[in-house]
Subunit: 343 residues, 4 copies
């Protein structure tokens, strides 16, 4: 059994991580910490977990965490970097679901996250935990930066096009839509149901933190700087991301369906839909799966890729567990074989 | 392995039954029939099942179904009774998720369902599949009538009070609220999102088919005729039933919390919440569980019981699987140990 | 023109009051105050008001408010009582949309609202602003306490039964359901869309602040103390209240439909639906109207009344405007003749 | 008073048209026809209209309609063309809210709408009823083709860029999102709340009927053929369209905010938001307004325009009334001065 610690289990990625790890056959949850809720039984806060976990939240004490084999951080940005060095020194693996280690350039990080990074020396070592792109490195990593939810949906949708050099890298557009759970479980007026319900809007059009993260990976893939426009939107639903991706073909002699099918033929968590499909976010509700459809309207030069994930699973907690499996040499699908809850 | 046939797999109880049975370690799904969709791959209709099932819907042919150990009917009312006699004669167990065998009085049945019953002789034999009430009979049954969704939530909430003779049986009220999936997956104007969304209403106040079903069971339990008022409501959400139950105490010297806790102490799928709790339907989303809280405002004579289930699971497909487990001597929780999807 | 001041225009009742008053032909809005948002243009905070109002929020300065003919308080509980005495002394009418003057007993008030009342001497003078019950007193009042949203829906539904002495006053039940806007526009975890969406729950079963308010009015009407059970629930929608009311007939020789129709025949804002109807909250979305249907299942002793309002209109801002009209001798429907937004 | 007939008042655009016309000071509604519902009181079908209209639906009889000054068609596609010639011959103006006269090329129309056009000779005469583009022609028209909902949101957002020649016409993208009421009020499985709720998807990526309509108008504006990609999506809400528009600047020396502000400075129903804004669909709920924000991320060549309307108002019934006002020489805002219902 792998001894697991979770720092910050009171948010949506935290409770989702608990749901997945409690059903994982190789995991023992040793501690779930929360500064604010120490002493509260976890199942009192999240009654869906009643009967599945007896633990209470505990104070985030490093001496307890160093006894774990791996520690997940399901915390606000800027928390994992406080404890990561000590844990790594103690030989504990670290999987961060937040943004502390997602960018490699510390200046860039500081600019987008408005704080100083406390362990910039680890940025280069941290592996970006998108298994479909960095599986080999993940297997050998000590420190994994789980991708953001938008980046996961966007990157998986654009990967095959960029790797095959099929599109103009200067004209990439991601029009992305997310359910409200992406904003986390903290009190805020804009995320009240009275505000976010029965309405639709774009936000952060002039700059979203996931933009540099996506750009960085796209550049790595295409081995060139990219022109990338990213417009996130808020959907009045709880779970799910739908990314609609636009690119211009430079090579029109290609069977796009084939390209996608081949790229992901061995990927257990990427599902390429038949030609003409329109993935719905509900198809992947609660599961670690990305469903993708690729379209070429009127056989023109414009490619339209539709990519859906559950932002809390393949976009966060599920991907973290997938990384855990790789890290500890387990079959990658261990504990992740559930079926999406439809309807 | 238990060979299972499913008649009518295109509705919401059908796809939910598939989701559960596909994750059940002792079940092999032999056939899923649908007159309208014969030939269509199941996973094409329900893309959440992609990679989990390769079958296509087949014509409902009795010669194929008799090769099963058990056949589930996830069909409209009036369908199971057409084939049940033949299946039973062939030694196949039948679990009906619809209403064909829920009432024992054929006159009553005809009145509420507006059709002739084609095998009234089976009504007496059929066992009402609420394990918490009829477990022993279920274990020996050939034909099981799974309870309706409202009856499950209402009966589990009132059972302890009636069995212990604590309340006035002439003054029982169930104010019940259901998500829209309870109405099934058939085209209808009132269930359009444009009609049912962002609104709340009662319906069938002057008479709902679940009223005689609940009344019958309540009378059996209390061994007297009951006065029972039932008002169902439609909630703008997909899954979940919340029953708010009102009864008048005839014995006020009792610890209600104790009564409920003891009644259900060995029930794996009924979870009595601590005093002062308010169960939310999301706590049990996707799982075979009923969460109950019992209140006595101002320590008066009025009891208020709050009871929540997922109408498609403990209110339909999950309960059907629970019955299957009992019927075949498996641990009752086999294949039903998932954790509720929250948020 | 009536010069109007609004204290606290940043919440949902505030913006709704603005929407109604801006379309009221006899009203001039002189000031809208907000301590937190002073200086912000109102239409910047609420873009639906762009082009309809040029004012910015101003500091709540009493010297400015005393120049108004009437001041509305759309504030948290405990605010109106701070300024009401001074405004009344200056000859300004006060209409409070919060709870400061809804109860007549100061001890009771202190108990339910957890604070000292700063002007208990005004409690006796304040008129409970339910026009269908207190129209004459309202016309002569200086200080009006607008009813809570639940009390409005419940009282209008029970009034005819109690006034006519048709039901047992010891057995009254209100099972009430509200959209999330009833909780206001303040940051809180339970009202996040991620928490309140796609779920249904009861809350405050052991005691809600609207209970003593309703009890008090019911007792006044029936001229006896009442036994009243009140269970509020949260519906995953934004606007609307649906009250399902249960009472036991003591006189069964009566035509309930007639009783309701006659009681409200001259009321412009209460609409009795035909027999067998089920009002939907969307019918009254955005308008000052209560729709009621009365049922007697199986012609038994149990009456079931269904009553719907828009909690922000007939349950708050619209009712406040109705009171304004009465107070200033205008036709009661002035500015309140809109049509419900369906769908 | 203008005598108005409405053909097909049982759908969402029909009931919305009724809501608007019943509040229009210069309109008298003479007849509302419905083949299926003839004899039903309109307010029985739409209880929000109780007290506002006493009419029942009548049979669609041409002799009655020719007595009107103007007839609106709020019917399925293919209906208006059956009666338009006769009405026009009788001197009655026709405003079609459906698609019968939106395209000028009959071959194109036949291809997209899968039926023969019965009066192709009227296609050239029909005026495309987008007042911001064709106001002068509308004023003189006999037959008006109201734009589709998507085209309204898209065209108003792209107009200023194309008219000023600022963008590459070969690279236009509209990523559009609509609430479910856009699909109308007819029974269908995909529009059930159980299907469309809590999920998000694109549809018709390979070709939507609004594509040729938008292309045609874009070409007229830019006086060249355009390259236009259109991806519609379904949002789990009832009302509202949000179009996110992407174009590539060919002239970067321009103040886009200025361009938009000037283009629409005299338009009563187009509201250009301040720089950095993100319009929400709820801002315009229930009103005849388009709110637009224009962005240029990182001051690059990519323009992002955000455009929102209520699909049933500025996207259908409200725009129809705006056309009526122009047609009959009334102030254009007559009857259209309501305030958006927020929240």
């Amino acid at each position: 059994m792998i001894n697991v610690g979770i720092v910050g289990g009171t948010g949506y990625t935290g409770v989702e991580l608990l749901r997945l790890l409690l059903q994982h056959p190789q995991v023992h949850i040793q501690a779930v910490t929360s500064r604010g809720e120490a002493g509260t039984r976890i199942a009192d806060m999240f009654p869906n977990l009643r009967g599945h976990i007896e633990l209470a939240f505990s104070e985030p004490a490093i001496d307890k965490l160093v006894q774990c084999d791996v520690v997940f951080f399901a915390t606000p940005n800027g928390t994992a970097m406080q404890s990561a060095p000590e844990l790594l020194n103690a030989g504990v693996k670290v999987i961060d679901l937040a943004a502390d280690f997602r960018l490699q350039d510390v200046t860039e990080w500081r600019k987008w996250y408005n704080m100083e990074h406390t362990c910039p020396e680890l940025l280069a070592e941290a592996v970006y935990g998108l298994p479909e792109l960095h599986r080999t490195a993940i297997a050998k990593a000590r420190l994994i930066a789980c991708p953001g939810c938008y980046p996961t949906a966007v990157l998986l949708g654009l990967l095959p096009l960029l790797e095959a050099g099929l599109v103009d890298c200067q004209q990439l557009i991601a029009d992305a839509k997310s359910g409200v759970s992406g904003a986390g479980r903290k009190a805020s007026v804009p995320m009240l149901m009275g505000e976010a319900g029965e309405s639709f809007k774009a936000y952060n059009v002039l700059g979203h933190r996931h933009w540099p993260e996506i750009c960085g990976q796209l550049s790595n893939i295409s081995k060139t700087s990219v022109g990338f426009t990213f417009v996130p939107h808020l959907v009045p639903m709880i779970r799910g991301i739908h990314a609609t991706l636009y690119a211009t073909l430079v090579n029109t002699e290609v069977n796009l369906q084939e390209v996608f099918a081949q790229r992901y033929q061995n990927e257990p968590f990427v599902d390429i839909l038949p030609p003409g499909s329109h993935p719905e976010t509900r198809n992947v509700r609660g599961v670690n799966r990305c469903q993708i459809a690729v379209h070429r309207p009127f056989n023109g030069k414009q490619v339209v890729v539709l990519s859906v994930i559950d932002n809390l699973v393949k976009g966060a907690a599920g991907q973290a567990v997938q990384n855990l499996n790789i890290l500890f040499g387990l079959p990658e699908t261990t504990g992740l074989q559930g079926i999406g809850l439809l309807p």
